[in-house]
Amino acid sequence: MSSNPTIARRQRWLSVLAKASGARLTALWQAVGLTPSYTVLRRPEIGLVMVQGRISGTGAPFCAGEMTVTRAVVRLDSGEMGFGYVRGRDARHAEIVAAVDALGQRAEWVETLEAAIVTPLADEAEARHRLIAARAAATRVDFFTVAREAGA
């Protein structure tokens, strides 16, 4: 995360929005009922990002394989530019992320968007992770070696 609070907020928003499902984001966006006037500078475009791994997890990077990504760029009539980069091929998802990113740069919208879209999506992502971890935890084991321990 950046030490610049404005950039740190955008980083967090863009990450939370991208990791949400397109359908869920669309539902929340429609519920807010904002219809900002913006120009689509870059129509949603599908492309690839090469995912890099690291040797043994921490060493030199290598190309592990690509993933599909959709990106879009919008500009509000007031001039702010918003960017959407999301995994997958959902054009609507990328465009809404770009619109929210642009609106988030206007101070008067930050609180509304945070409360109505970003916080709920972050909470849902956390709940998803908690469920994965809870199901995994139910399969945690203790293996006992049959060999006699030293000194026993």
């Binding site: 950046s2 950039i7 955008r10 980083q11 863009l14 990450s15 991208a18 990791k19 475009e45 599908i46 492309g47 690839l48 990002v49 090469m50 995912v51 890099q52 791994g53 690291r54 040797i55 043994s56 997890g57 921490t58 060493g59 030199a60 990077p61 290598f62 190309c63 592990a64 394989g65 690509e66 993933m67 599909t68 990504v69 990106r71 760029v73 530019m81 960017f83 980069y85 999301v86 995994r87 997958g88 091929r89 956390e126 992770h129 908690r130 469920l131 994965i132 971890a133 809870a134 199901r135 995994a136 935890a137 139910a138 399969t139 945690r140 084991v141 203790d142 293996f143 006992f144 070696t145």
Partner: protein, 367 residues
């Protein structure tokens, strides 16, 4: 040699229709949806994404449906599709310590920090057919237990490494790794390039090579340091933004193999490593990749490279099932002209032999 032929358009069109008909099968049976393939044949989707070298569950499911379950054909379809897309750039390297793990085991330490978490595994099944699956019905949800998902998962490798017992992985801060899809493979290849080749390589081929090392063809005495499978965020720095954002989460399987130690005059004996990484849940692939990665380090570690798995040229040139399947299957295309010329040669040679025999016979008769 394949020589272009003309004709057969109608037959080919009808053949494609027949493929489509066979794909649909009995019309009284419900048609498969891509969601069903993604959700219920998820490991097939994982394999197609890994060897198709493109993470997209929907596309992989579509490829599997189109290929009627022929996974190598599906991998080919996904590889072909990816060539139509522009490249936005490369991600930041994955940080798998941030993984929300579904499974994490170590076969070297039983009391590994973070615990042994079996997750969804076939390891402890009896491999008996479960006939209850033949009928559809309500299936219970998996049980849960209290857990903390917010903690980073320590690496087994780091623990051993701290004591100097395990070699650290090679570091390289030159930025983005070189990319086989952008430049041809030149031998000898660097380890990152070898790993990219193996990551998209055929699971069956790598499994056989990994197995061969265990049976003695380049043995390096492996232990599973750690296998983990779960969800990791992918960070990317869009050029226009200049700062990193997470653009999504993907599932990966990682295998860090701990191998036979080596030492020299200068370096005290320490364990060595091989590494495997695959999209989705693909342990067999990640393990085989790690075994072959380690075997291919024979030269670097001063081991005699006498076995196929240690032969970089042999392994890297034959690991790709799209290339392999293409070259093997092209034999089905018309080779009529080529074969005609061979036929002429064989007939000529046979005629010569026949002539020599006749002459020898005449000479004998004359004596």
């Amino acid at each position: 040699m394949y020589v272009a032929v003309k004709g057969g358009e109608t037959a080919i069109a009808h053949s494609l229709d027949l493929v489509a008909d066979k794909r649909r099968g009995d019309r009284d049976v419900a048609e498969l949806s891509l969601e069903q393939i993604d959700q219920q044949l998820g490991l097939a989707v994982d394999r197609v994404m890994t060897e198709g070298s493109c993470y997209d569950r929907g596309l992989a499911a579509l490829a599997i449906k189109q290929a009627r379950g022929d996974l190598i054909e599906a991998i080919f379809l996904l590889r072909a599709y990816r060539t139509t897309l522009p490249r936005f750039g490369a991600s930041e390297p994955l940080d798998t310590t941030r993984m929300v793990a579904e499974r994490r085991i170590s076969s070297t330490f039983k009391d590994v920090p973070g615990g042994q978490v079996l997750g969804p595994t076939y390891d402890y099944t009896h491999r008996l057919l479960d006939f209850s699956l033949a009928a559809s019905g309500e299936r219970a949800e998996a049980p849960t237990a209290p857990a903390d998902a917010s903690h980073a998962l320590p690496r087994v490798g780091d623990i051993l490494q701290r004591d100097g017992l395990l070699e650290p992985p090679p570091s390289n801060d030159e930025g983005e790794a070189r990319d086989l899809t952008r430049e041809p493979l030149v031998l000898p290849a660097s380890r990152p390039l070898r790993l990219q080749n193996l990551a998209r390589g055929d699971e069956g081929f790598l499994l056989a090579l990994g197995y061969s090392t265990q049976r003695g063809y380049g043995n390096n005495h492996p232990f599973v340091g750690e296998i983990r499978y779960g969800h990791v965020p992918v960070s990317f720095v869009p050029e226009e933004l200049g700062f990193a954002i997470e653009i999504g989460e993907i599932e990966v399987t990682e295998c860090d193999m701990v191998n036979q130690f080596a030492g020299s005059h200068d370096v005290p004996p320490q364990f060595t490593r091989g590494y495997g990484l695959a999209f989705g849940h693909a342990e067999r692939k990640a393990m085989a990749m790690a075994l072959v990665d380690r075997a291919l380090r024979a030269d670097e570690l001063g081991e005699a490279a006498t076995s196929p798995a240690q032969d970089e040229e042999f392994v890297l040139a034959h690991s790709d099932n799209v290339e392999g399947s293409g070259f093997v299957q092209h034999l089905k295309l018309p080779h009529y002209v080529d074969f005609q010329s061979e036929l002429v040669v064989v007939r000529m040679l046979r005629a010569e032999v026949e002539k020599r025999r006749e002459q020898a016979g005449l000479a004998q008769a004359a004596e």
